[in-house]
Amino acid sequence: MDELTAELARDLDSSFPHLVKRAGPGLYWGLRRLCGDHQEAEDLTQETFIRAYRSLSEFDRARFADLRLSPWLWTIALNLGRNHLRNRSRRPVFVEMTDHGDHDPEPPDTAAWDARLSALTINQRRAVVLRHVVGLGIGEIAEATGRPEGTVKADIHRGLEHLRRVMEQER
């Protein structure tokens, strides 16, 4: 059990914000590259953490011991992404006091990546994004996607090949 998992097992409410801080950026930007939309990635990130919190509050000691946080969070996120579940209307919606509005944090030159990534099959895109944008290991991706490690490796390899070809055509 890593330190954060141990903390979550000990005192979920006070340590959960640390999980959001640590896993939040990877989740948001991974989802952002997978769905290509700020609002949807934001919704999915929030919903993933809310589901995770509810599950964790029912975990016993043994389940915490077996928990591998990143692949587990990504299992939830990918399932939610499949169902495009939105239930924001049932919760309070945060209002920022300093007016950032609904602004998209994306630097404009990176938007081209969504077009490139959309040329990949869904499995390749998922594997490439989880490996290289989020930084998960092959084993973690296999766990999160429910695909064998060999298949994940092949997906990443073919995905990168495809991206290279797409980028050569751009020149």
Partner: protein, 251 residues
């Protein structure tokens, strides 16, 4: 730069607002917004369960909330499904369709608060009546402290609960003058209440219906008042052949 390096540069910091949205969605923080009310601006706090507190919008409300409920507050919009019921509930002085979060209260307190919420607008009931309705007739003092700690004043109308000697009693939301104002605004004749209290009148009976009521009950007020009979105790009203009103259940 390799494709792998360029891909790893596509991630950044967590955008503003997501962590806060998670805190609200998990219930680790409550949201708040400011509303106009008959006693001035109030802070209404809410979470996924419902409205969790009402406080005067004065300096330090965030600290007061955190020390009372152990959660931080974030400026937020209430859930769309029941946002519109908040002003309705404040105006009516009862939750109606607005969900309320009373998880911070004991089962007895929840029971007492729910009963208080059923007191009709423009009517008052003594602490002892609430204790009896909650099936703890000896617990009038506990009812008093439950009202004093009512997390959702205005919406759970603790201002309609008064001392049995006719005095209005304390009010947690800014003091007794606000209790006066709220009751006056609902059409309670406070001068009449005081007068009855001075004469130790607890219930009034209507000879034409044979029913006795709390003096502010809409049933006795509908009788026209000219021929009502005053009683100092419910025992005396029953001895005179009157029945307790099924609406205000004076005991």
């Amino acid at each position: 730069m390799s494709i792998e390096q360029r891909l790893s540069g596509l991630a950044g910091a967590l955008p503003e607002g997501i962590a806060e949205g998670v805190a609200l969605g998990t219930g680790l923080a409550d949201g708040y917004d400011i509303y106009a009310s008959p006693v001035g601006e109030v802070v209404i706090t809410f979470n996924i369960e419902g409205v969790s507190s009402v406080d005067l919008a004065t300096t330090g409300f965030e600290g007061r909330f955190a020390s009372r409920y152990g959660r931080p507050l974030l400026r937020a919009e209430p859930p769309r499904q029941w946002a519109k019921h908040i002003p309705e509930a404040m105006e009516a002085g009862t939750p109606g369709r607005l969900p309320v979060d009373l998880r911070s209260r004991t089962p007895f307190e929840v029971k007492v608060l729910r009963i208080a919420a059923s007191i009709p607008r423009g009517e008052v009931r003594p602490y002892g009546w609430l204790a009896r309705e909650a099936e703890r007739p000896d617990a009038a003092r506990a009812v008093g402290s439950t009202m004093a700690r009512n997390p959702i004043p205005l919406i759970i109308p603790c201002h309609r609960v008064v001392r049995s000697d006719g005095h209005l009693g304390e009010y947690s939301l800014g003091g007794t003058h606000n209790k006066w104002d709220l009751l006056r605004r609902e059409g309670v004749d406070l001068g009449h209440l005081v007068e009855l209290a001075e004469h130790h009148v607890r219930v009034q009976a209507d000879p034409s219906t044979g029913v006795y009521c709390h003096p502010t009950c809409h049933v006795i007020r509908a009788s026209g008042q000219w021929n009502v009979v005053d009683f100092k105790t419910t025992v005396a009203a029953r001895a005179a052949g009157f029945e307790p009103c099924p609406e205000c259940r004076p005991g």
